[in-house]
Amino acid sequence: MNNEVLINTAKLARVDIAENQEKFLKELESILDYVEIVNNAHGNLDKDVNISENQNVFKEDVVESSLSSKDVLKNAPKVSNDYIEIEGIF
């Protein structure tokens, strides 16, 4: 980890850490140092772990009522004509 990587990673994570950059860098370096021990691991890198051990969970495809858009939109920061309003993307 270095400043350049940190800034890049934070940008990908959509957070701006400019104000505490040095503190973050120090903390993240110490965390990464600590977790470095996982590199001792050997085995199949592409095998996933199934914690609940459930397999092939199916259910009947039944139509049920769901939340109304009115209820859902109550939490939206900005709404116009039953749509969530955001800044332009173009």
């Binding site: 994570a13 993240l28 600590y34 021990i37």
Partner: protein, 442 residues
């Protein structure tokens, strides 16, 4: 206060008087983020709910400013089940932001105090739920446990804290932190109440594909209970914890429980695995808090700026730290080195437990290396993470584990952790009832 105590002490007429007492006494503890204003229409046993769990019509913040104004339009499955079966929600409890922390000091609102000593933290992240039970405000409460967030505060506050098998309780409506670790569980003053709440909330839910019904076979009463203690498990623990642990072994032995030493897993390595996998899942789960659909929003010129300004302003340091670590661990070029290697070790920890549980019923360890620490004690992230060394490891395998208070003769509480095999939740609670009896007669 147990459920039985509550039912004896309060009837329907004086329920609002009870609420007023809780409100007044909580001024010292700060366990609640939200308390209902009127209980006169409520029926049954009051339960406090960690603010990580969605409650229809009641603001649900997850301890974060980014959800300060969020009112869920639906209930988590566990809330529906409780309300249908004789419980009512009295309020929402304080927690570390998005359940990241071990003291409630990471709450974006305020710090909860430990009812046993107001200068100490109650633990976390479910600190408010633990404090509310420990202070006698409610007989039972719900928390969530991703790496110890029920068991550690239970240990610090001197109550029972139970984290079920991953999948035993539906996570539908529970705000996600690390989806392959998160699990809802129970705080109570005894095993009987713990079991009563657990039996109400557990079971398969079509809305959570990882959930299942537990097998119900019982441990035969004639069986001698065999508990494994991992070798060198007391290395690095405080004197108080060591004494409490050894006294617990002595009293359980007197009551005919058998102890054997079992192999330990590499706890330092397990903690490292945890602190790669959890931030990785965090970085994905917290991506939804972007200011678009719900929660807070900062105005901006374009969409990327809107996301970034909103998240920068309303997420606290620990969520930011973990999101960045997770983004890094999952990024091209690093995911083989961190995420995938950690997954290999996660499977090895799971295999380790499977093997150990071939020869013992339970594993016993301390819940935490120390008793509750001071509010404001300065610790680095790594120092704080090391406090989770006994609790994170069980979550790598999704096992049920419970913290039961040791008999410490009125000194600061120490929790003892008992771990069972996958889906052996009911057997763990059955044996815990016996353990509880042994500790009371010690």
């Amino acid at each position: 206060m147990t459920i039985n105590d509550f039912e004896k002490k309060y009837n329907k007429e004086d329920i609002n008087e009870y609420l007023a007492q809780v409100k007044e006494q909580d001024k010292k503890i700060n366990s609640f983020l939200y308390l209902k204003k009127d209980l006169s229409k409520e029926i049954g046993v009051p339960i406090a709910i960690k603010d990580m769990i969605s409650t229809k019509g009641i603001v649900t913040t997850a301890g974060s400013k980014i959800l300060e104004n969020y009112i869920p339009p639906y209930n988590a499955t566990v809330i529906d089940k409780l309300e249908r079966n004789g419980y009512f929600v009295i309020g929402k409890t304080n927690m570390d932001e998005f359940a990241m922390g071990s003291s409630t000091e990471n709450s974006a609102y305020f710090t909860t105090k430990n009812p046993k000593d107001l200068s100490l933290v109650p633990g976390g992240s479910s600190g408010g739920s633990a404090a509310a039970v420990s202070a006698g405000f409610v007989p039972v409460s719900l928390g969530t446990d991703t790496g110890g967030s029920i068991r550690q505060p239970a240990s610090f506050c001197g109550i029972v804290g139970f984290c079920p098998s991953y999948g035993a309780v539906s996570r539908y409506g529970v705000i996600a932190m690390a989806s392959s670790f998160d699990q809802v569980g129970v705080f109570a003053n005894n095993i009987k109440d713990t079991k009563a709440v657990f039996d109400t909330i557990r079971g398969k839910d079509e809305k959570d594909a990882t959930s299942f019904d537990l097998p119900s076979e019982k441990v035969s009463e004639s069986n001698i209970i065999k508990i494994g203690i991992p070798e060198n498990i007391l290395e690095g623990v405080s004197k108080e914890v060591k004494i409490a642990f050894e006294n617990t072994v002595t009293s359980l032995k007197k009551n005919g429980i058998e102890f054997v030493q079992v192999a330990n897993t590499n706890l330092q390595q397990a903690l490292a695995v945890y602190y790669i996998l959890v931030p990785s899942e965090v970085s994905s789960n917290l991506a939804r808090f972007d200011g678009v659909k719900y929660g807070k929003r900062e105005n901006a010129e374009d969409l990327i700026e809107l996301y970034t300004k909103t998240r920068t302003k309303y997420l606290g340091s620990e969520p930011k730290r973990r999101t960045i670590i997770g983004t890094y661990a999952l990024s091209a070029g690093y995911s083989d080195k961190y995420y995938k290697k950690a997954n290999i070790l996660r499977q090895q920890v799971k295999d380790y437990y499977t093997k150990i549980f071939e020869s013992v019923d339970l594993i016993m360890t301390p819940t935490t290396p120390t008793t509750a620490f001071k509010i404001g004690a300065v610790q680095t992230p790594i120092e704080l993470y090391l406090g989770d060394i006994y609790t994170t490891v069980t979550k790598l395998a999704g096992l049920p584990a419970i913290s039961i208070p040791a008999n410490t003769n009125d000194k600061l509480p120490v929790g003892i952790q008992f771990i069972a095999g996958h889906k052996k939740d009911l057997q763990l609670l059955q044996i815990s009832e016996k353990i509880e009896q042994c500790l009371q007669t010690y």
